[in-house]
Amino acid sequence: MIDDLAVEAADLAVEAAGLEKSYGSERVLAGLDLRVPAAHCYALLGPNGAGKTTTVRILATLVRPDAGRATVAGCDLLADRAGLRSRISLSGQYAALDGLQTGAENLRMVARLAGVPRRQAGRRSAELLERFGLSDVAGKRVASYSGGLRRRLDLAASLVSEPSVIFLDEPTTGLDLPSRLTLWEVIGELRSTGMTVFLTTQYLEEADHLADTIGVINAGRVVAEGSPRELKQRVGSRRLELTLTSRPAFDEVARAAARRIVSADGGRLSVSVATDGSAAQVRDLLDSLDPAREAIASFAVRSATLDDVFLALTRPSAKEAISV
């Protein structure tokens, strides 16, 4: 039993329990717990102001928590800050690079600061530039880089110290679609090298694409945790939006749909229910909710948004439905 626990603890790259942080009267983290297995990609998914950045900054030792404890890469957050810092890297929301230095100079500087000897620093920097497709712009000042190039260079800079855990705070926020896809590819590669990737995002699609485990954060707490598939099963990846013919029809359908309901608006006679979006399921739903084919005037299928996930996860009945 004790052996089991020890093995399990050793396999966790990040373990946080009861993290709390307030700024003035504003409570940003309200007892946050999470566990990230080593070599996993974990996405902390939540809206602006949910506490994502604060969580990452605490785990990367940049901010001290008011309460709670955490272990990252085997090092205690408070007792072994130096050890922890030597095993992690952080790529923040704003690319932390010098605009007046070239890409290569930035990387060499980071390598030197990470304790890499001068000769190796040049080599390491060249390797990373090559790997991230930045060799062409290596000699140009970062101030002239596009947003996507900057983020890629920032990511490269985070890898200079060969961390075992890397934190990426909203890595693709503000990027255009092609840059986002390139970055997804790069992050996917990191994961395949056995590194633990901890990222935050406000895009369900991004978490779905990259993460092995998604933690949904709301008001400073992780309100749900699971693989993208599990979460989608709990919440539904798509929405079937129904417009009803009358108020009695609305009541009837709302009652029949019960726990599948994500949102309902009696005034507009609309009901939204979770579905996987398959033709078979949509057909079944329409038939079972409205066997007489009189109540539903029209329907539409759309992707679940982050709002839907939150609605589903924070509604009391839904919470009950998803608790494991």
């Binding site: 130096a82 923040g92 500087m109």
Partner: protein, 262 residues
């Protein structure tokens, strides 16, 4: 313990941090056109302005005003250049880069010391430039080799003290603009001192301040070393001022850095 050393930045990385930061800061200031203009060209313009605009009126009183002026102008320029450290420190603090440095376990004092070191190199260059131009327009010092070396040492100490003070101000400022305000404060300090005019020509209420502020003893010391004027207790008071500013700034900046990065 040994585990930490193997895994990455152990003590050696902390030793490397300071020269690496200094090299970075120097590279940044050599590439910032603004910084180059303010730290190299502006001092020369200031000196020419004083010598040619005010110089005529001043030398009516007799004596060589250029020679009287140059030690003070060297000081004014160095102080002004050093004060610019506030701007670069506040830029680092406002941008995300300080987070990267901290997650690389670069100590706060290495970051600040890097800026101070760059400031010293910058100001050595600008002082050499100002001195060169001063010779061209008629500065005729009569100092011994020892006098020159000592004067350089005094100036260095002054730049060091003002640079640390500026780094502290940069930590306090929430924006580069606010940090720029500190630069002006330092730039105006030489006016109510013996830099441009003898203190005895000032109104009585100002004389008290002029005699008891840091620039006056430093200027008097420089003048004594380069021109052979009597210095009295000025060198000791200059030393005390500089050492005091340095100590207070070093302590305050360490504290402020921890507060800003909590």
């Amino acid at each position: 313990m040994s585990d930490t050393a193997i895994a990455g930045p152990g003590p050696s990385a902390r030793v490397i941090a300071f020269p690496a930061m200094a090299a970075r800061c120097l590279r940044l200031s050599s590439r910032s056109i603004d910084a180059l203009m303010t730290s190299l060209v502006l001092p020369v313009i200031l000196m020419l302005l004083f010598v040619y605009v005010f110089g005529g009126a001043m030398s009516a009183g007799g004596g060589n005003y250029v020679s009287y002026l140059v030690p003070g102008v060297l000081l004014l320029c160095a102080g002004f250049g050093a004060a610019n450290t506030a701007v670069s420190v506040s830029q680092d603090m406002a941008g995300g880069i300080v987070d990267r440095f901290r997650s690389l376990d670069v100590p706060g004092r290495a970051i600040l010391a890097g800026h101070v070191a760059a400031s010293i190199v910058r100001n050595t260059a600008s002082t050499a430039l100002v001195l060169g131009v001063a010779f061209l327009i008629g500065f005729r010092p009569h100092a011994s080799a020892a006098g020159w070396v000592t004067a350089a040492g005094v100036l260095l100490l002054f730049v060091l003290a003002i640079s640390w003070l500026a780094a502290t101000a940069g930590l306090l400022a929430r924006s580069a603009e606010a940090a720029g305000g500190f630069t002006f404060l330092v730039m105006f300090l030489p006016y109510p001192s013996s830099t441009f005019v003898p203190i005895r020509t000032m109104p009585g209420w100002l004389q008290g301040f002029a005699r008891n502020q840091p620039v006056t003893p430093v200027v008097e010391t420089m003048r004594g070393l380069l021109l052979g004027t009597p210095v009295g207790a000025a060198p000791w008071r200059a030393l005390a001022w500089c050492a005091g500013i340095l100590l207070v700034s070093a302590a305050a900046s360490g504290l402020l850095f921890r507060l800003r990065t909590r």
